[in-house]
Symmetry: C2
């Protein structure tokens, strides 16, 4: 009998993150995650392919959201504005889950295999945004360059936000806009 | 008895690249590389830890060269100029070895594991250039952002150069300067 477990996915995610922080990613087993969440391993595998998937399960949805936001940017938006608008939109989600995002970042930073996976994810998101710009009629190399430059802005803003090195009270969407302004200065330099 | 093999490293590199292109990276063995180069496996392992190392063995020297070039940029150079000067300097090396670099790129693009490794390498190079800027007295986030933006420029220029989508006769150092000019336009956009 398959029981309906309310918010099973969310419970598994929270349990996994707690354990990854407490014991390290490599030392944590799926059995332990399921136990901590009060669920079975079988339920875990209905939601995630493996324990790495808990950290990257949202990638496809994020990619779709970014692409949609690039496509939906106002007709008059420049390529970098369209990309930044998409990243700011995604950033509002991260901002709302700040504690979990910071915990996830700590786990990823501590594990080489996860860092590689994160870099692949960011490269794929950059490629998708460049593709969305092309669908808006932006030619290359402007499309690729705008997506890469937008991702550069995001990375710097995210790093400041997630490590707490930005001024206290800074929110991620605001930091992205600040770093975009910095990029203008840097590029003109 | 250890025999001196003239240009053993270069012969192994050329043999490995040929085989990776002909048979695929995963299907090639160290024994085959050594045989093609007319050398022993033992000689291979004196030069490389494994067959992946043949493709990434130059990373440390490249990193050192980039850092030195950032540090040696004229005192009046802006951060993005210092980073771009370093990348242009590295690009002259790639330009001189164009056929081998294109072959290497084809092998890396065909293999997910190698793509991950390449992304890690580029991220490490970006981090090193940001570190060199800090040693020049550039504060963050400008240091990180200039390194990330410079790497964005490099990636776009390299992709155009290596895939042959740039106008015929374009050289990589020139493309980097062109894409830097594009970045100014894109960022201002």
């Amino acid at each position: 009998m398959v029981r309906w477990e309310p918010d099973a996915r969310g419970r598994l995610e929270r349990a996994a993150l707690e354990l990854y922080v407490e014991r390290g990613f490599e030392q944590t087993t799926v059995a332990e995650i399921a136990k901590r969440a009060g669920l079975t391993e079988r339920t875990f595998f209905r939601h995630f392919a493996d324990k790495r998937e808990v950290l990257f399960g949202g990638s496809a949805a994020l990619q779709e959201r970014l692409v949609t936001a690039v496509l939906d940017a106002p007709a008059g938006a420049s390529p970098i504005e369209a990309v930044t608008a998409a990243l700011v939109d995604a950033a509002t989600l991260l901002q709302a889950r700040r504690a979990a995002v910071r915990r996830r970042h700590g786990v990823i930073t501590a594990t080489a295999e996860l860092q590689e996976r994160e870099l692949i994810k960011l490269a794929a998101l950059t490629g998708s945004m460049a593709g969305a710009l092309r669908r808006r009629g932006v030619a290359d190399p402007t499309a690729s360059l705008s997506a890469e430059a937008g991702m550069a802005v995001f990375k710097v803003a995210f790093e400041r936000w997630v490590t707490g090195s930005a001024p206290k009270g800074s929110d991620l969407p605001g930091l992205i806009r600040d770093v975009l302004a910095d990029l203008r200065t840097v590029a003109a330099g």
